[in-house]
Each structure stands twice: as structure tokens, then as C-alpha cells.
Amino acid sequence: MEYEVIVVGAGHAGCEAALATARCGHKTLLVTGNLKNVATMPCNPSIGGSAKGIIVREIDALGGEMGVNADKTLIQMKMLNSSKGPAVRSLRAQADKITYPQEMLKTLKNTKNLTLQEAMVEDLIVENNEVKGIITEDGTKITSNIVILTTGTYLKADILVGNTRTRSGPHDEKPSMHLSDNLKKYGFDILRLKTGTPPRIGKSSIDYSKTKREDGDKEIYTFSHDIAPIYDVNNQEPCYLIYTTPETHKIILDNLNKSAMYGGLDDIKGVGPRYCPSIEDKLVKFKDKEKHQLFLEPESLYYDDIYLQGFSTSMPKDVQEKMVHSLPGLENAKILKYAYAIEYDAIYPTQIKASLETKVLKNLFTAGQINGTSGYEEAAAQGLMAGINASLKLKGKEPLILKRNEAYIGVLIDDLVTKGTIEPYRMLTSRAEYRLLLRHDNADIRLRQYGYDAGLIDETRYAKFKNKLNDISKFKEYLKNTKITPTKEINVIFEKIGTPLLKDGIYLYDLLRRNEININTLKENKLLVSDFSKEVEEQLEIEIKYEGYIKKVEREAEKMIKNEEKLIPKDIDYSKILNLATEARQKLEKIRPESIGQALRISGVNPSDISILMVYLRKNYNE
């Protein structure tokens, strides 16, 4: 074999996958159509967001690159939901579209065991349902033990604008013409998806006086658990907020039949995501709304494009001109790039195991948009997991499968392989039933050990993590063993804070349960001494304040794990369970869940089917 691992595609998934296998010591080849487009952001210029920001933290905890790369290149940072509970806080950065790919390329080039090559991959070398390498456009064969496909939106990609359909990837890049047909030949079911992107506007052609300025946070944050902040908190790029006007709505509705998605093209098969509808979709589905919110987001410090968030469309160019000019502040705006929709092939993700290896071809892994997801963060997370599991497989070890109560990444992959998807899948906090456990603040506590075990966290970073754990337990000991006794002075302070006065002594740990008391108030009043880091203090504060709820969710998770532990024999023949509803039987046969827990989450499999399955298992397998 020429390589141990070949990664096809160098988007967010491909970069993470290749870095992971190379860092774990495997000779890796990363193949991409254009090395200038490594880790580009063809859509919105931001990394993170609600739930997604937590995924970036998880990637970082496991030893992935996205968090560090975003920290190096961000031009604005915000903590979302900071007024809500700790479970839903999440970072979002505006990342620079020029420097983000540059920094990633630099990292790739400086990674040992990693070779980069420009080529279009059109087929795989397959023997006995096992992948042995790739075949490029010009017929060159390159062999490897494992292939990871991270082809993004490039499989048979079509760009749709108005009534035109052009076979092309984003930014006029060459799409892969035959790979998806070849995958079909090997037995994969292919899914057609679509997504869209809004127009880009010239920075200097906007009248900002008609917009509302949105600045970054004054507090400083990083995605990474290890590196110090790089950006200047006092000098962040602003975004701007505007709304559509009645005139915008009239233009869109008058020209609806010209939109590619509304009759401009009659051969559209791709299913678009509900959570990022085009502006046409928004007007049609929500007729009563008088206006829709749009954000103007800077793409880079190094060129002029402003991303018009919320205005994705597949209208012809002349209509796009009118639409944009009807917006406040954009009357004289110059459109630098027109909006377009893109249609592409993906595989039904139920054909993939939770390790991200496909069920169809051995040693073939897939990650990112090819698995039906949407979003840079979702892609990077899968790339990282595919890389880790490829490495574990090469070493003959069991795959790393994160559970739903351990990581958003676990929720993401479990949803994909268990439920499948028919639209581009985006992570949302509401998909995570144990989200109180899956917080921004504890990503390292949840996952760093896995990253270390996988070989992606070096000793220095690991030692730092171990120290933090140690500090947390020391601080906890201190809070649990330090008692405040009711003296006159103390009660004067308590009165000032506005908390019930003390009659008996109370441990700091219990005192912190009170709503109106936090570590800072205690520190300010010299009732608590701590030189522990802010993260350590925060960890304890969350643990104490939300103890009841965390325990509750942990109990729920235990129930889930019990069902996860009820394994379904691999040789089970669902056609022998006569009483199963037909739909349930088909779904179970297709997905072949590993456990009762997974079976329960398959849509179309009802609780009554599960009881029938359980009865059958008990009868035939004595379980």
C-alpha cells in the first residue's frame, strides 16, 4: 500500500480527518481539487453559533484543529445565550475567509506524515466489498488501507440561478462527475440535497446610517482550551442588522416563478434545509410576517465582500439586483457575487456505522456533507471522528463512539446513522436531550481523555488538563469543608447582599446554593479565598447551582444507557419476527441497530414494535 489513509476532499471534514490520522502516526494522503481552497467557507463567514459553538469546543477537547484555527483568524467573537442557563451558552466567531484557509493550509503543510496532492477523484479501488484505494480523473490508481470520503457539495454539483443550471462546484470549482455514480454501482443509495447562499455586497456601497450596528462581546473568549486569546477585544469588526421592506416582498412575490426553486427550473429534486430557507421560502411560508431580519456580516479584512445573511435566493440576477436595492441602506449597493442554490449528491447516512465506516464497503469512511449534514462544524466533527476511528481500526482497536450524553458529536452521529436524514442536517440544541450535560464549559472534562487516548492530545496539554481536574477537586474540598459561623459582622454582610441571615454555621458549598450568592460576591466580601482559575470557579459554581437538574438529567441518561446496553444479536433475522409492523421491519432490517436503545430512536419503529422485539429476543436468545 502506498498510504495507510487517503482522505478525499480538503474541506472542514477532510482537514480534520487527515490531520487526525497523520498526527496519530499514519502515512496519510490528502487529495483535493484545488489546494487554494483548503478549508474554505463558501457560505457564511462564521464559526460556531448556538450548539455549533459547543461542537467546536468538543472538537478542540478531542484534539481537532477547528477551534485553534478559528481563534487564530477570528475578527469578532460573541457568547450567545449568555443571559440564559449554562447549558445553552455557545460561542460564535466571525472568521476571516482569507486567513482561515491560509492558516489551515499552513498547519496541514507542517504536519508530519501528511502529503497533499491536487487531483479529482472519480472512482475507488474495490476488491470483495473492501476499498483498497482511489482512482483519479486521469486513471491514476493510488492504494491505501483506508479511504475517507469528505467530498462536501462536489458530487455532481449543480449551481442554480434563476432558470439556469450549471454543473459546477462552489466558486466555479470543478465538481466530481462520476464518483457518486460509482458509489451507486457499489451499492450505496444516493440522496439529492440542495442548499443556498445569499448575495455578497460591496462594503463601501452600503449606507450604514440606516442599519443597526452589532458589536462583538467585551469579554474575551477562545474556542481552544489551550491557547491564549489572539484577537484584540477592543478592535473587533462589527456586523449590521437590517430588515426587508414591503417593496422587497412585492418584488419577490411578483417574480416568484422566475426563482429556480419556484418554477424557474422544473427538474429540481434536491431537498433543502428547513432551518435555512431561501427568502422566497420565508415569504411563501410566512405570508403574515411584515418583515424579515437580515445581517450584514464582513467576510474578511482583506477584501470587500459583505455577506447578506438571511437573503439566500435562487432568483435570476436582474431580480436579485432589484431585491437588494429595495433594502434599507442598500439602495445603491453593489452586488459582488450573486446568490445561488446548489444541488449535490450525498449518501443516505443510515448506510454508515456509528464509527463512520460504511456498511457497504469495508475500510471506507465518509464524513461531512456527503453524509447529509450541513455546516462547517458538523463536517469538522465528523472528519475528526472518521480520522480517529480510521486510526483505531488500523491499530486493531475498537472504534470511539461518543454517546448522546457525552457530546453533541455523539448526538450528531447517532442521529445520522440511526434516523437518517432527508434534508441537510444541522445541529440544534433541541436535538440534544441531555444538553445540560453537554455544555460549553465542560467540553474538556467530557472528552479530553478520549483525545489523549486516541493520541491527539500531547503530554503538555494533557498535564494542563489533569491540573485543572485536580484544582476542581481541591476547590470543591475547600468549599465543602469551610464553614461560615453566624457572627454580627457576617450577618451585616449578608444583609447587604440581600440573603437570609445566618442562625447556624453553613458550609460555603451549601451557601453557594442560594440564588443571590455566587463565588464573586463571596470573594468581594472576603468570605471566600480562591486563587483558582476562572474556569475552575465556574465549574464548581455550575455544579452547585444546577446540582439537582444535572442529577436529574444524569438519571435520564442512565435509563438511556441501560437500553444501549441491551444489545441486539448481530445475526438477528427480522423476517422471522412475524408480528412486527411492516414499516418497522423494513427500517430495522435496513439500519440493523446495535442495541434496543438505538432501535427505539428509529423513526417508524414504535414502542409496540420494540416490545415485540424484546419478547422475541427473550424467547430466542434468553436475554
Binding site: 457560505c43 457564511n44 448556538s50 450548539a51 450567545l80 445565550n81 443571559s83 440564559k84 442557563g85 449554562p86 447549558a87 445553552v88 445569499p198 452589532e214 442588522l241 430588515y243 434545509p273 428547513r274 432551518y275 435555512c276 430557507p277 420565508k282 411560508k285 410566512f286 410576517k289 418583515k291 424579515h292 431580519q293 445581517f295 445573511q309 438571511g310 439566500s312 434516523k419 440544534l428 440544541t429 433541541s430 436535538r431 436531550e433 444538553r435 445540560l436 440564588n515 444546577y546 437538574y549 436529574k552 438529567v553 412475524l578 408480528n579 412486527l580 409492523a581 418497522a584 427505539l600 423513526s603 414504535n606 414502542p607 409496540s608 414494535d609 416490545s611 415485540i612 419478547v615
Partner: protein
Amino acid sequence: MEDTIAAISTALGVGAISIIRVSGNESINIVNKIFKGKDLTSVSSHTIHYGYIMDKEEIVDEVLVSVMKAPKTFTKEDIVEINCHGGIATTNKVLELILTNGARLAEPGEFTKRAFLNGRIDLVEADGIMDLINSKTEKNRQLSINELNGKVSNLINDLRDKLVGIISNIEVNIDYPEYEDIEVLTNEKILPEVVDFKNQLEKIIKDSEDGKIINEGINVGIIGKPNVGKSSLLNALLEEEKAIVTDIEGTTRDIVEGKINLGGIILNIIDTAGIRETDNVVEKIGVEKSMEIIDKADLIIFVLNNNDILSKEELKILEKIKNKNSIVVINKIDLEKRIILSNYDKKIIEISAKENIGIEDLKDEIKRIYNIDNINTKDMTYLSNARSISLLKQSLTKIEESINNINNDSPIDIVEIDLKNAWELLGQIIGETYTDELLDELFSRFCLGK
């Protein structure tokens, strides 16, 4: 493959005809062996055939036989139903013939179990059918039928829809924190909605407890000193009700003592054996025993003797039953009045069990306490089985916790945890799962996106 089962599926001896149901692969073959008429193995599905059930050469009964082939049957298996015209003895004979020809006697509820296992009915329906099978009075039967018709599902779905409205709005705020045109839900904003929801839930629980009374009856304890007349009171109450004191579950017709139908509601007199026993044996009042009954019963009838003064023990019991549903009955009003009952402000019923005086007053008082005349089952859409009511109550607890959290100014996503739990608990009543449904709701109600 499951074996073939058979049972008499009508109440024994109640109607003019009885139906024997046979379900399973062999059901048609088995009945065909003892049927004289058409060849049942070659008739079309869902047809009825006239003929005779034969024991060798002898006619046992003249019958109508319905043949229903899988899968469009109650159990999704082949089903044969035999309408017998004879009485208990004949029906039993037919059943016996079916059993000797290869079927097995069905366990109680086994048809329903198969219907459930074969995916014909869901858990709630199964629950409803079991209730229907076990129902003993007309009101009870109507209630079970309502549960069967999916009225419960509708009711629960309505409740869940209301809750999901609140939850999805909170979720949208979390997933799309910067959308200024989506209403930002604060604790203050959701409080009235959650409180309103709590009130609805409480009402349904209250109604459902009425439903439980209809289904399971009221457990009544009759206590009092020996010779005070407990036994005669019991007999007086039972007098007109002999018709229903049979158990229709079994094949035997054991007399179950102490079940009284009061306007459609069953009164279960507990510890009837004790009542009779203590009358025969002269002993000191068993205070301990009485206390035990007081704890077990929903309603206490405390019998005092008009002809005797109050004992210390009786005063103790009066104190104990103060805060319970209880009726003080003074018996033997045909004798001279010696009892003095001061400081007792609840209604007292005076009777003579022996002379059958005042028994109606006692019944009226029971009806009044439980508002029996006003329990209307015709439009009953509340829940009647213990599992459902328990889930409703758990759900209510969660709602109360969330209100508590709102008042303590907890973050809204913490408040939401309890709301979601409440929603899941309600879902368990109708056997539904969540997440996808929640997301669908989220996307159908809100306009979001990039």
C-alpha cells in the same frame, strides 16, 4: 408460531346468546372439525355461516359461525366466532369440544395481548380494552369505550400541543438567539401560560379520580363495636343488590360478598368477614383492627348504638375519622335513645337496620359525598386507569416544579427541563416519543434561517 386459543367472550349466562372466540392459525380447521354446514376452510373471509356444532353424531347447538381471516381481525390472526343459542351448559360443551380438538383455553386478556403484540392496537387501547373486559357496571363500560375510541389520545394530544407551543418557543430563543423579530420568552411571559396549563391538568386529574371511582368503586369500611349492628346494616345495604353480586370474570359463579351498586358506582365493603365474625364472638372492641380498616378504606361508615352511651374507644375513633370521608350512623333508633353525641358537627344518619329505616338516607349521603349523581360518563374524556392517572400526577409535579423555578428566577432553559419532562410523561400515556415531533413543530411555527 403462536398456538390457537379459545374462550367464551360474552359474560356467562347474561345474554340470550353467548359467543365463543377462537384465534390462531388452526382456528378455522379446529372449528371445521365440529361444524356441520359449509366447509369453513373454503369460505371467504369475513362471512357468517349457519349450521350445527356436532359432538360426533349428536347435535350440541344450532349456531352462526363468523370466519375472519388474518390479518384484518382483532388479533391479526385467523379468528372464528361461534354464536351459540344455548345456555351456560351448552356453551361450555361447545368450548370443551374446541379445546379437545386442538385449541388451548385463553388466559384472561390473551386476545388483547395478541392484538397488542401483533401491532393491531396500541398500549392505551389495550389498556382501554382490558378495562372494558373488567368493567362491571354500565357507567364503567361507557368509560372504557371512550378510552378505546381514542378520546384519551385526543385529550392528551391537546395538552401536549399546548405544552409544545411553550417549549418550542423557548427552543427557538435558544437556537436563534439573535432573531429580534421572534418574541423573546422570559419567565414572566410564560408564567401565566404555565399556570393555566397547571389548572387544566389539575382539573383532568380531579375528573380522572372520579373516573377511578367509576372504574374501581369506593372502598367502604364499616366499623363499630360488637353487636352494634354492622352485620344487619351490611345485609340491609345488600338487600336489593343481589343481581350484581356475581363475579363475571371466572367460569364459576362465586358470590362476592359486599359489592353494592349505588347509582352505577360500586361500593366495595371491605373486611366483610370481620364484620360477621365480630358479631358472633363476644370480644372487646378491636380498636387496632378498626384503625387498620380506617387506613385502607376510602369511606368509613362508623356505626354507633342508639341504645348505649359512647365508650372511650368510640370517642377515639370519632377523632380519628374526622379528616376522612366518613359517615356516622346511629343504629337501633327503634330502641330507647341513650347515646349523647356532643361536639360532632358532621351529618349523622339515624337508622334501624333491622326495620330497614334510614337506609335510603345513608345511601343518599354516600351519593352526596362522592357527588355520584353528577358523575356524568357520557362525555367522559378523562383517564380511568391507574397508570395513566399516575403519569398525569407526575406530569403535574413537573409543572409545579417549573413554576417554582420561574418564581426563583432560574434560567429559562432550566425551567424548560421540567416542562419537557411533563410533556414526555404525557406522551408516555399515549405511547409516543418526542424529538422529531418537537422539531417539526419548531419549524412549522417559526420562520428562521440564514
